[in-house]
Symmetry: C2
C-alpha cells in the first residue's frame, strides 16, 4: 500500500499521520484505501467529480469558501465572511452587523458588498506542457518569467472565450506542474441571513483562535443569475441560480471520533519552502513585520481616537490588522515552540542527502544551489518592501498609483498588459476603487501617510524624487487639493490618457507619476527573481517528487486558493494539564454570556436555552445542543466558511477558525496540537428556527424539524 | 451539625460548599467535623496552637507568606516574593534575577532588600471591649475614629513593651470584633536560594493567572537574629534564628483528590461588602482605575523607551503595574461573568428581609441605612482620589510629602501621632525613603509627573495653589534644583524642623508644604467617613452574625493580612469544552520550552528531564515528575508563598497564583471555577538536587533523596 505522508514528516516517521494533507481532488484515487480506513462511507472516486455531490456543491467566494445547500442557489459560509456585506448595507438606525439580518422573502435579499462573487468550479485540467512552451534554461529570469506569463495569459484567454467563465492557472510544486481551472463566475450575490453579532461573533476578538468557543459563525448568501442562466451583475430581473448539485443536511448524530472532511479553498501554505526560507521568515522578516503592524495599529488607534466618526469606516481595516498581528505573533510563537527552523533543516537534509547520494541527481543539486542563491536576493527585496509598502496604507496615494499604472497598461494591447490590468480585470478594478469610499476618512488617511513616511524616509530603497515633490506640496495641501476622495473622480481617471496624468495638478496623481519608474524597476527586478526562482524551484521539487515516489509516498502541493480536500475526525486535544473536549454546548454558552461587550448573546437565545427548548436539534450522544466542535483537519486561511461533511458526504457544519497553536500550520502541520474549529450544523438550524425565525430557509434546505 | 457556609452563598444553597472560607484559627474547633470529613488526619484543635506544628511554622513576610522548613530558620516562599531582593543584590555582571542565586554556605547568604522582615506570630487575643472603650454612638465620625485610633494605639503600645515585638489590632466584621496580634519581628532576612528566572518565572507574564502552568515559583530566605536570640538589624555577628516549630516535608505521594490546606496571610477581601459597594466598584470605580492604569503603563513604557538605562530600575514597578492591570481587568470580567452585582443584591435582600421581619431588629435597619449613606460620600471621595493619587507616581514629590508629614507629626507626642509616623515606624519609614534609589530615574520620574498633571489639572479636587507654584517653578527646573534624588539628602530631612521645610528652596519640599493643608483636610474628611462607617458597619455585621447564628451557620471575617486557614483538595476543573487536569509534568514543561524569551528553561534542566533523571522525586501515581498542581482552596493576594500542607500537616508545595477566573474571588468565591496554583514540593526538591546543586539545603531540611 502506498504510504501517505506530508513533507513535514519525512524526518519524523514515528508521528501519527492522522489528518495532514490539503489534497487535490485528483489525488482522491490514491487516497482511496486510506479514506475508507478513516471511515468514509461513499465511493472515494466520487470526490473527484465536480458534477456530483458532494464536491460539486463547493464554491469559492474569492478569499473564502462556501457551499450550495439548496437547489435555489443558497450558499452557506462563515459569518465573518459576510462582514463586508453587513457593513455595506448598514445605515444609521440599521446596524446589521450588531443586529443581524434576515430577508423574510426573496425580494428582501440585499446585494452583497461590491466585488462579491461566487465561483463554481467546472473543470480542472493539467497544462504543464502548455505552460512550459518556449521556456528554457538559458533564458534570463526576466525572459523566463515573461514567457511563462505569456503562456498563462494565452491559456486563460482561450479558456475565457466561453461567456461568464473565469479561468486561472495554478502552479504546483513551484512550477513542476500546472493546472488550469475554469469557473462559472456568479456576480450577483445577495445577503440572505446573518445572525446578530452576539451569535456570529460571540466572544469577539478575545476568542479569536481560542477554544473553548461558543460562536455561531455562519451566514447565508444566495447566488443570482440572469433569467437565461448566464452570469450577470446585480439586476432587478435576475433570478436565483439553480446549481446542479447541493449538499444534503445530515440527520445522523455527529459525535466524537466520527469521520469528517472539509472541501474548500485554502489560501497559501508554505510547507514546501526551504529551511533557509523558514529561517529568514521567522528570524528576520516576521519580527520586523510584527513591529510594523503594531506601530500601524497604534497609529490607526490614535487617528480614530481623534476622529470618532471614522470608527465605523475603519472597523474592518482595524479588525484585519488585529487579526494579522495576532496571526504573525502566533506564527512566531508556534515556530519557536515547534523548533520549526531546526525541524525543516533536519528534514531538508534527508532529501539533499538523497540527491548527493547519486550522481544522476546532479541537476537537482544544481537546482538547490540556484534556488538558495535567488532566495538571498529575494530576502533583501522583501525587507525593503516591508517599508515601501507602508505607503499603500494611504488610500489616496494607492488609488493614484493603481490608476496611473492602469493608464500605462492601457497603452499596450490587452494580451500584453500586466496581470490584473487586462480588460477582463476592469470590473474588479472598479470595485476596488469604489470601495475606498466605505473605509476612508481624509484625516485618518493623512495621519497614516505621515506615519508611514517616518520609516520610508530612512529606507535605503526610498524614492528621493517622490520625497522632494511631496515635501514641496506639503501633506495638508495635498489632501486639501486632491479630489481623489470622490469616488466619481477616482473612477473617471480610469478613462484618461497618460498625458492627463502627467499634467495633472492633483497632488496624488502627480506623486504617482513620480513613483512610477521606481515602481516598475522594482517590479522588473522581482520578475527576474521570480523567473530564476521558478526555474530552480520547479526542478528542485521535481526532485522531491521523485524522492517521494521512490519511497512510495504521496505528497500534496502547497495550498494556493484552489479546491482541496482534507479529512480526519471530530476530536479534542490533550496537552499537559489541559484537555479540550470536542464539543461545546448551549449551557456552556450561557455560562460565558455576560450580556455585555463581546459576550452578549441575544436575550431570546438565552431564554430558549434556559427553557432547554432544543427540540430535535439536540445531539442524542451529547444529550444537549452542541454549539461548536473541534477536528484534526488540515485547513488554512481561505477555508473560512468551508462546509464540513460527514462520512456520507452530508453537511454537518462550517469551518470558521483554527486554534492559535495552529496558525503556524501554514508552515508545518503538527497533528498533536493543530485543531480546526467548526460551528455545528445543529446549532445553526436551532438558531434559525428558535431564535431568528428563519424557517423559510430551513424549509428550503429541507431542514425543518 | 453546624452548617458551614460563606456569606456569598446565603442565597444559593444548592452550590457545593467545598473549599470556601479563610478561617481564623480560633474557628478550627467549630470546623472540626468538617475537617475530618474532608480528610484531615491530625487533631483539628492543633490548628489553633501557635506553639505547635503545623501552624507554628507559618510566618508573614509583610505582604506575603512563608514557613519555616528547618530548625535553622530556613523559610520557603514564592520566587516572585523575593524578586526585590534579587534585584537589590544584582550588579552589572551579576544578574541574580535571570541566573538565580544560591549561597553555597551560610556565609554566602545575602541581605534581603531593605525593609524585608519575617514576622513570627506569637499570640492572638480578642480586644473588642478595649477597642470600644469610651466610644459611643453620639460621637461624630471624626471623634469616633479618633477614639478608636487612640484605643488601638494604647493597646499596641502596651503590647510592644516587650522587646522585638510588633503588635497589630485587626478589625473583624467591620469592627464588630477586634483581635490583637503579637509578632516577633525578625529584621535580618537573608537570601539563600532562588532558581533562575527560566524556572522561577517560566512562562512569564504570558502565564500569569494561567493554567496549564510550569513555573517553579519558589525560593528560600533565612531568618537571622542577634546571638542572644533577640531581633536585630542585619549585622555580621547575627546567627540563624532557631524556630520552635518547622514543617516536616511530606514523603507520601500527593495525588488528585487528596486533602490539602493552606495557612498564610491573605490580604484584603471584600466578601462582606454591600451590594451598593459592589455596584460602585464594578460599574464606576474599576473601569476608571483600569483606564488610569493603562495610561500609566503606556506613559512608563514611553518614558523607559526614551531611557533604556531605566529599564532595570523600573522593572518591578512595571511588573506590579501590569499585574494590577491584568487583575483589575480580570475582576471586571469576573464580576460580569458571575453577575456579581445581581448576586450580591439578591443575597443582601435575604438578610435585609430578615431584619425587616422583626421589629427587635430595628437597630440593624438603622445601621443599614446609615451605612448606605456614608458609602455614597465615600464613593465621591474615591473617584477624586483616583486622580489625586496619580501625583504619587512621582517619587520625589511623594518623598517630600512623606517627609513634611513626618516633621509635622514629630511635633506631637509619640502617642498622638498618626499611625505610620510614630517612633516605632521610623525604620520602615527610612527603608521606604531609601528604596527610592533602586527604582528611580529622574527623567522617567519627571515624565510621569508631567503625565499625572494632565488629569490632575482638570480634577474638581485639584489644589490650585500647588499648580500655581509648580507652574511658577517649571518642571525641568524643579528636577534640576531638587536634591531629593540623593538618598542621604532624603534621609537627612527626617531630622529637620518644620521651619526648615517652610523656608526650603527645594522645589519638591516647598510643593509638599503647599499641598499639606489640602492633604490634611482630605484626611480629616476620610477619618470622619471612616468613623461613621465603622459605627454603621459594625452594627450591620453584628446583625449578620446574629442572622448566621440563628440559621446555624459559621461565617468568617474578610481577609486582612492576618493568619488564616483554608482547606479543600487537589483538584482540576471542568468547564464546557475544556478540562484542567490537576498536575502538570516535567515532560509538559519541555513541550512548552522554546529556549527563548519567557519560555527559556535552563538547558541543564531540559537535559535532566530528557534523561528522565527524576530519582525518587517522581510521583508513583503520576509516573512522572509533577511540576505544578491545582486545588480548590480559597486564597487571595498575600497568600503568595504560603505553604501547602497535606492531611498530616506536612509540606507539599507553595501557593503562587490563582487562575484568572479566580481574581474576582476577592469579592465572591465560585467553587466551580476558582482554582489555586501551587508549585509541587517534589519539583522544588528535584530542581535543587538535579539542576541547581543545592544539596546543602535539602540536607538541612532532611529532604535529600
Amino acid at each position: 500500500m502506498c504510504r501517505l505522508i506530508g513533507l513535514g514528516l519525512f524526518a519524523l516517521p514515528s508521528l501519527t499521520l492522522a489528518a495532514e494533507g490539503m489534497w487535490l481532488l485528483s489525488q482522491a484515487a490514491a487516497l482511496s484505501s486510506r479514506l475508507h480506513q478513516a471511515g468514509l462511507e461513499i465511493d472515494p472516486s466520487s470526490l473527484d467529480d465536480l458534477k456530483a455531490p458532494p464536491l460539486g456543491a463547493i464554491v469559492s467566494l474569492g478569499e473564502d469558501s462556501g457551499s450550495f445547500l439548496s437547489p435555489q442557489g443558497l450558499v452557506v459560509t462563515a459569518h465573518h465572511v459576510v462582514l463586508d456585506s453587513l457593513q455595506y448595507n448598514s445605515r444609521p438606525g440599521k446596524n446589521y452587523l450588531a443586529d443581524g439580518f434576515f430577508a423574510e422573502t426573496l425580494a428582501d435579499e440585499l446585494p452583497a458588498a461590491p466585488g462579491s462573487h461566487i465561483d463554481v468550479l467546472e473543470e480542472v485540467r493539467d497544462v504543464t506542457q502548455a505552460m512550459e512552451r518556449r521556456a528554457n534554461e538559458r533564458m534570463s529570469g526576466l525572459e523566463r518569467d515573461a514567457r511563462i506569463a505569456a503562456n498563462r495569459k494565452a491559456l486563460i484567454a482561450a479558456c475565457e472565450q466561453q461567456p461568464g467563465r473565469r479561468c486561472e492557472v495554478k502552479e504546483d510544486f513551484g512550477g513542476a506542474r500546472y493546472r488550469l481551472l475554469r469557473e462559472f463566475e456568479i456576480k450577483d450575490v445577495r445577503l440572505v441571513y446573518a445572525p446578530p453579532s452576539g451569535v456570529g461573533y460571540f466572544g469577539g476578538e478575545t476568542d479569536d483562535w481560542m477554544w473553548p468557543r461558543h460562536t455561531g459563525d455562519f451566514s447565508f448568501y444566495r447566488a443570482y443569475v440572469a433569467p437565461d442562466g448566464s452570469s450577470a451583475p446585480n439586476a432587478r430581473g435576475n433570478v436565483p441560480y439553480r446549481p446542479k448539485v447541493w449538499l444534503k443536511v445530515a440527520r445522523r448524530d455527529l459525535k466524537a471520533g466520527d469521520f469528517v472532511m472539509v472541501a474548500g479553498f485554502p489560501q497559501h501554505t508554505h510547507r514546501l519552502r526551504t529551511a533557509a526560507e523558514a529561517r529568514f521568515t521567522f528570524e528576520t522578516y516576521s519580527p520586523s513585520a510584527e513591529a510594523s503592524l503594531s506601530t500601524y495599529i497604534a497609529q490607526l488607534d490614535r487617528a480614530i481616537a481623534a476622529h470618532p466618526d471614522a470608527a465605523l469606516d475603519y472597523a474592518s481595516v482595524m479588525r484585519d490588522a488585529h487579526i494579522a498581528l495576532k496571526k504573525i505573533q502566533g506564527q512566531i510563537a508556534g515556530a519557536d515552540r515547534l523548533a520549526l527552523v531546526h525541524r525543516k533543516t533536519a528534514e531538508e537534509k534527508v532529501y539533499r542527502d538523497w540527491i548527493a547520494a547519486d550522481s544522476n541527481r546532479q541537476r537537482y543539486a544544481a537546482a538547490a544551489a540556484a534556488l538558495d542563491r535567488v532566495l538571498v536576493d529575494d530576502q533583501r527585496a522583501q525587507m525593503n518592501d516591508l517599508v515601501l509598502d507602508t505607503l499603500d496604507r494611504c488610500q489616496l496615494l494607492q488609488a493614484a498609483r493603481l490608476l496611473y499604472r492602469w493608464a500605462k497598461e492601457r497603452e499596450k494591447r490587452d494580451a500584453e498588459r500586466a496581470e490584473g490590468y487586462q480588460d477582463r480585470d476592469r470590473p474588479a478594478f472598479e470595485d476596488k476603487l469604489a470601495q475606498i469610499e466605505r473605509q476612508f476618512t481624509p484625516d485618518v488617511d493623512r495621519t497614516l501617510l505621515a506615519a508611514a513616511l517616518d520609516s520610508y524616509r530612512t529606507s535605503n530603497a526610498r524614492d528621493v524624487r517622490f520625497l522632494e515633490k511631496l515635501d514641496a506640496i506639503g501633506l495638508d495641501r495635498a489632501y486639501a487639493m486632491s479630489r481623489l476622495a470622490e469616488t466619481s473622480v477616482r473612477l473617471s481617471w480610469l478613462n484618461r490618457p497618460i498625458s492627463a496624468f502627467e499634467t495633472s495638478a492633483d497632488p496624488f496623481i502627480s506623486l504617482a507619476v513620480v513613483l512610477y519608474p521606481g515602481d516598475r524597476a522594482r517590479e522588473r527586478a522581482a520578475q527576474d527573481r521570480r523567473g530564476r526562482a521558478q526555474a530552480a524551484r520547479s526542478l528542485y521539487l521535481r526532485g522531491l517528487l521523485a524522492f517521494a515516489a521512490e519511497h512510495g509516498r504521496e505528497i500534496y502541493p502547497d495550498a494556493d486558493g484552489s479546491l482541496r480536500l482534507t479529512y480526519g475526525s471530530v476530536t479534542g486535544r490533550a496537552v499537559d494539564g489541559e484537555t479540550w473536549t470536542p464539543f461545546t454546548s448551549a449551557e456552556g454558552l450561557v455560562a460565558r454570556n455576560t450580556g455585555k461587550g463581546e459576550f452578549a448573546a441575544p436575550e431570546r437565545m438565552i431564554d430558549r436555552i434556559g427553557a432547554k427548548d432544543y427540540g430535535s436539534y439536540a445531539s442524542s450522544a451529547l444529550r444537549t445542543l452542541p454549539v461548536d466542535f473541534l477536528s484534526d483537519l488540515d485547513v488554512s486561511g481561505g477555508n473560512s466558511g468551508s462546509a464540513t461533511l460527514n462520512a456520507r458526504g452530508e453537511f454537518v457544519g462550517v469551518v470558521f477558525d483554527v486554534s492559535l497553536d495552529g496558525v503556524i500550520s501554514d508552515w508545518v502541520f503538527e497533528p498533536s496540537i493543530n485543531r480546526t474549529i467548526h460551528v455545528d450544523s445543529r446549532f445553526m438550524a436551532w438558531v434559525m428556527d428558535r431564535v431568528d425565525g428563519a424557517q423559510r430557509l430551513l424549509e428550503e434546505m429541507q431542514w425543518a424539524e
